[in-house]
Symmetry: C2
Subunit: 380 residues, 2 copies
């Protein structure tokens, strides 16, 4: 047994903990802060309240919210200009806001364009701006991962990876997730569940990552259905939020597997919510995956409260049912077929997740999984 675990940021968890952002930024010695926040959250008044809390501690704050949807290089470039000169970057929102904030905090100190760092072309600066991450969805785990994803100039999905992009402090406030609609709560929650599951069971799984992965499975299994069906239940919201944060730590250390091969391939074809795409890919492959019947698969099943790995497919389908997840792809997939998806699953950028999967994935497996996915109704 040999393994490494990357550093885990300081985490502060609790209802209304986001109201302590002023003292948190002050503890870094910050005099100026840049807030990277989703536009609809900025309009809700949250950006203003955060800025006031910072100003109360003598910290001048600017707000950047000029982005929408999945991050594009143009958003990252504008964010980099916006945060330049700040002592601390505060990312607030879903995975997109956090990813943009993480990249901008690195590019702003070096003066390099984000493309300079894309796909690990060059090492990141050792002294990025301090970063505080405040997720308002419970799913991506971007607040604790070293990966940020954006679309390059040609529209192709690129990633920047490195411990330099990681948060110094994470504030987890269930109150901020309470307005997330039921379908997004379910999709993001399943994304987090699958992060934890794949990190705990793939070829890169190790003891250090499994601590967080298993806790995430326990937390999400125990609370996701309630969080979806009782949106104001802050206890359940908190457990899913904490679980998704821990799942982010798990993938930061051990990565993902086949479900993410499928969801990244789907995203390469047409717009689809990452959590939904991942859940569909997971459900389509789980019965095949658990045939491996490894110790890790059985341990993950136990963390979900099950007796054995073979019980997982029925359990996961039942959880998705109870969370109201409709098994359907967006209409944009109507014009596409299984061969196109299979080809995308075999694209170079999706091979690491294929290779890390605990079972060998043949091209016939790829074709079969693609056929299952593309046979889903187009309606979502």
């Amino acid at each position: 047994m040999a393994f490494s675990t990357s550093f885990v940021p300081e985490i502060r968890f609790g209802e209304n903990i986001h109201e302590t952002i002023g003292t948190a930024a002050s503890s870094f010695g910050a005099k100026t802060a840049a807030i990277v926040i989703d536009g609809f959250l900025a309009q809700s008044g949250l950006a203003g309240r955060i800025a006031s809390q910072l100003q109360a501690e003598g910290i001048a704050a600017c707000v950047f919210c000029d982005f929408a949807g999945e991050p594009k290089i143009v958003h990252v470039r504008r964010a980099t200009e916006a945060v330049a000169g700040a002592d601390v970057v505060i990312g607030i929102g879903g995975g997109s806001a956090l990813d943009i904030a993480k990249i901008a905090a690195c590019c702003a100190v070096s003066g390099e364009d984000a493309m300079h760092y894309a796909l690990a072309a060059n090492p990141l600066p050792k002294n990025p701006l301090k970063k505080i991450m405040v997720p308002t969805t419970a799913g991506t785990g971007s607040e604790t991962s070293a990966t940020s994803i954006f679309a390059g100039p040609a529209g192709k999905k690129l990633w920047i990876w490195g411990a330099e992009t990681k948060a110094d402090l994470v504030l987890l406030d269930p109150v901020l997730t309470a307005t997330l609609p039921a379908n997004l709560t379910a999709w993001c929650g399943m994304d987090a569940f699958i992060h934890a599951f794949e990190a705990a069971t793939n070829r890169n799984a190790h003891a250090g990552g499994k601590i967080y992965a298993h806790e995430a499975l326990r937390l999400i299994t125990g609370a996701l259905e309630t969080a979806v069906n009782e949106p104001d239940n802050l206890d359940a919201r908190g457990k899913v939020l904490l679980g998704s944060c821990y799942a982010g730590i798990a993938i930061d250390n051990c990565g993902t597997a086949i479900a993410h091969t499928i969801s990244h391939a789907l995203a390469g074809l047409a717009p689809v919510h990452h959590g939904l795409a991942t859940a569909l890919g997971f459900e389509a492959t789980l019965a095949w995956l658990v045939e491996a019947d490894t110790a890790d698969l059985n341990a993950a099943a136990k963390a979900c409260g099950l007796a054995k790995a073979a019980d997982l497919p029925a359990f996961v389908s039942g959880l998705m049912d109870r969370c109201g997840i409709v098994r359907a792809l967006p209409n944009a997939f109507e014009a596409l077929d299984a061969a196109v998806l299979a080809a995308e699953m075999k694209a170079a950028e999706n091979q690491p997740m294929r290779r890390s999967t605990i079972r060998e994935i043949s091209d016939e497996d790829i074709a079969r999984f693609a056929a299952i996915i593309m046979s889903l109704p187009k309606a979502a």
Copy 2:
């Protein structure tokens, strides 16, 4: 539920991982390194091998090993001078070496004496030297805690506390612990077990800390007896080492309780190994403690593989038996009595651990526990 968890350093675990120290230090951009190492380890050739590994990466290294026994202020001062000007401080050894290295890495950048920071009198510098910690005993958890202990000018035990003292990187190498004698393996291992147990069950216990505490209990319970009785069993050595590191994270977040009130009080009276003193204090109070029968106590019992909290006292006494722990105090305690120990347990510096204990501790309880401890044979 609301809680905070302090950052967890990067951890690299594996047999012979200490041989990667050169590339590890190089990844921090270090050109010079200061090695703080126990004298007997320096004489064994380990300091020279570490220096060679650093030099192979172009890093000049100096060695400081001018200390022995529990750290004293004079050792800390000399270490601070020795590490000044280095880019990275490498602590190698037991808790004393690591504690000295952690303090010196802070004092060297500010130019302040360690007494300036003792008992939190002043805030630590925000930009300490980079720190790599390499424990060669499995017990204190100093490699992952924010606490360092030393004796002040008057001989009184003082502590320096702060995230600034924490390691940036921890290397856990079971090979380095394989020469630890059986009695020290047992005493240090019980110290780590009790760190985990107290952190998981005291009034400050929380979900974030319990993740590590329970994993530590599982690891140490499953491997300590083997590590004591089969010194070359690197699998068992590794599990106890990893468990003590995780127990360090647990106390970094949640602190200790009554067993540490007793062991610190004993140490205030006469020299005694911290692990032995803590184990004796734990065994003397556990039956009383588990009467509280809290959910946390029962969860800790389950992490030890037991059905319920009430099973803990017999289990712990059996574990101590199987690890060959002789229930006896050093001869220096012959001249002391229970009243002296009770008074020391009531000293101001031991009250935080008394207050954090899950049961209220009356003065009558203190007297009873002191009587149990002081009635032990004096022979160790």
